[in-house]
């Protein structure tokens, strides 16, 4: 996983709530068996509208997405996170995130930052008015600063540590291999299992 400590960049204002993962990466683009190369298909349907914000050249190279509540709902596709990351986003700022999407972000190293509605609105208005504004997202101090906003955000200590260090979850879990073994020995034999193919 890619580590995240501090990131400063310009932001894209996507002023919509309930942006589902079918919009972030439409299903037709889920057929690749690789983990990379999804960026060009990010918001593929919406990008066919010339007025869509990602088509606005003033936001080219922006690396922070500011958006509405319940971002990333619907499908569990991690491809949505891969597409955002591949496009160049490092952090997403929103009033709330869908659970699976948020989990997927923290496995990949794309930082989901939950901000109060008022702070999100202020950021949307500021970067809509001036696309050159820079925002700093600091995971060490858990703060978002810039574009007229100075706001702290919450993230649990464990997830923060994993992101700061860029740690692989599987490696962390395998430290408890003895406990997994012990748990398996205690499982009732009647529980369902499949024969080896």
């Amino acid at each position: 996983m890619r580590a995240f400590t501090v990131h400063t960049g310009r932001a894209v204002p996507l002023d919509r709530s309930d942006v589902d993962t079918d919009q972030i990466i439409p299903t037709d683009h889920l057929k690749r068996i690789e983990r990379s190369g999804f960026g060009p298909f990010l918001f593929d349907s919406w990008r066919k509208d010339p007025a869509f914000v990602l088509n606005d050249a003033r936001y080219d190279g922006a690396s922070i997405l500011v958006t509405g509540a319940n971002f990333g709902g619907g499908s569990s596709r991690e491809h949505a996170v891969w597409a955002l990351e591949d496009h160049g986003f490092r952090a997403i700022l929103a009033p709330s995130f869908a659970d699976i999407f948020r989990n997927n972000c923290t496995k990949v190293g794309l930082l989901p930052v939950e901000l109060p509605e008022a702070a999100t609105r202020a950021l949307l208005a500021a970067v809509e008015a001036d696309p050159s504004l820079e925002i700093t997202v600091d995971l060490q101090t858990r703060r978002v600063v810039g574009a007229g906003v100075d706001e702290s955000f919450e993230i649990d200590d464990f997830t923060r540590w994993r992101l700061l260090e860029g740690l692989d979850d599987i490696g962390l879990t395998l430290r408890h291999a003895d406990q997994i073994d012990a748990f398996e020995r205690s499982r009732p034999a009647r529980l369902p299992s499949l024969p080896r193919p």
Binding site: E34, R35, R77, E78, N104, D169, I170, P192
Partner: protein
């Protein structure tokens, strides 16, 4: 800890607690996974990860793979990228010793239909899958939730998953379900009430006499759409309906194991006095069939209503996308296509419900109608009951098992502007094909609508 100290607990808490492998202050719990279902779309990168790190699948015997999302359910060729994805699934299953039900196998079907059908989905288990509709399995009192591909790799490698304990939310569904109102209408009403983000961070437990009166198929429909309210999972406490449904299925326990299992399963209820973090009560005595008008599953009204005035920009955008005007009666809206299928409504009970309405009737002129059974076994059972003849005589296409038109990544898609009455779970923009317009309905509304040519209920058929 002695029995004296036992605090009343919710069903979700009971299932959670029995799966904790490792717990430490400030860390997520490490949960054991009893059953891991996989499919072709969200697994290839996870297997690549295993190969890169030289890790095996820890428990192939607790892992089952199928192909469902991009399989064609009728004749015709498939695009080479989909073929490559299915070939990768087959190669990965072979390399890692995982049981696979590929296309052409009688066990093949939508992953959330085949788990229960085989009796693998049982009360008290933790079940995960790289698919958000994994919540379906909660209908049996299992804790079941969707995961991303990194987590799929984690489960393949360790058979565990680090998880923060979610909150609990009781959804009390009271009153007797009126005739003609189905499980689909119940869950659409719940989502309309709590919203698409209303369940974020929570496991929903559906309770009340209306839930108790539902068949297992109906309960699966309800739990299936928990994710559309943003919930981590949905659960229903197992009861005699559950036990009777499981009996005799290939992986259900038998003999002494069954006795032991039943004793355990009966303990899987929320204790009297257990506190939920949140509670919502819905009276369904006056519930009516629901139809969605917008582009998320909370944007629904009853069949007797009109398209509502938009209250915000999101609703305005939804109406523009759906090409609908406020004030239009739902019954005046005419779909081009009717789709009966998906992990929400493709089980034998759903097909019987639709066939009952279609018997001796025909599809309205110019309308395309298709039925896609949830699994090849559902298909076979329906054919044994003669349902296929009812559907084809009415003018429906009778197809093989798969996700089909619920998700626009196989050959069955809507064209831009095409309007569909669909028994699936998501009316997102472009979900059934770019530019397609989806209206979510129950199987009986789908069937009646197919006959009349505009949105209708069976009672409109006279």
């Amino acid at each position: 800890m002695g029995a004296m100290s036992a605090e009343p607990r919710t069903l979700a808490d009971k299932v959670w607690e029995r799966h904790v492998v490792h717990r430490a202050e400030g860390e997520p719990d490490l949960l054991y996974v009893d059953l891991h279902l996989i499919h072709e779309v969200t697994s290839p990168q996870a297997f690549d990860g295993l190969r890169l790190s030289g890790r095996p699948v820890r428990r192939p015997d607790l892992t089952l793979a199928t192909m469902d999302h991009n399989v064609p359910t009728g004749p015709g060729s498939q695009d080479p990228v989909s073929v490559r994805q299915m070939e990768a699934m087959a190669a990965n299953a072979q390399e890692f010793d995982v049981t696979l039900f590929p296309t052409g196998h009688i066990g093949q079907g939508i992953v959330h239909v085949i788990g229960p059908q085989m009796g693998l989905t049982q009360p008290g288990l933790v079940i995960v899958c790289g698919d958000s509709h994994t919540s379906t399995h909660g209908a049996f009192g299992a804790l079941a939730f969707g995961i991303g591909t990194s987590e799929v790799e984690h489960v393949l490698a360790t058979q565990t998953l680090p998880q923060r304990r979610p909150g609990t939310m009781a959804i009390n569904v009271e009153g007797d379900l009126p005739a003609g109102v189905s499980a689909k209408d119940v869950i659409l009403a719940i989502i309309a009430r709590i919203g698409t983000g209303g369940g974020i961070g929570h496991v929903l437990e559906y309770r009340g006499n209306a839930i108790r009166s539902l068949s297992m198929e109906g309960r699966m429909t309800v739990c299936n759409m928990s994710i559309e309210a943003g919930a981590r999972a949905g659960m229903i406490a197992p009861d005699d309906t559950t036990f009777a449904w499981l009996e005799g299925r290939p992986y259900a326990p038998t003999g002494a194991d069954l006795e032991e299992a039943l004793e355990d399963w009966r303990s899987l209820t929320t204790d009297d006095g257990a506190a939920f973090d949140r509670e919502v009560t819905i009276d369904c005595a006056t519930l009516r069939p629901h139809v969605s008008w917008g582009t998320n599953p909370s944007q629904t009204v009853t069949i007797d209503d009109v398209v509502p005035e938009p209250l915000d920009e999101a609703a305005e955008r939804a109406l523009a996308y759906m090409d609908l005007l406020p004030g239009t009666a739902i019954r005046e809206i005419r779909p081009d296509t009717v789709f009966i299928g998906s992990c929400t409504n493709s089980r034998i009970g759903d097909l019987r419900e639709a066939a009952e309405i279609l018997r001796g009737r025909t599809v309205a002129q110019g309308l395309r109608a298709m039925v896609v059974p949830g699994s090849m076994l559902v298909k076979r059972q329906a054919e044994e009951e003669g349902l296929d003849e009812v559907f084809t005589a009415a003018g429906f296409e009778w197809r093989d098992a798969g996700c089909s038109m619920c998700i626009g990544m196989n050959p069955e898609q809507l064209s831009p502007g095409e309007r569909c009455a669909s028994t699936s779970n998501r009316n997102f923009e472009g979900r059934q094909g770019e530019g397609g317009r989806t209206h979510l309905v129950s199987p009986s509304v789908a069937a009646a609508t197919a006959v009349v040519g505009h949105f209708a209920t069976p009672e409109d058929l006279g």
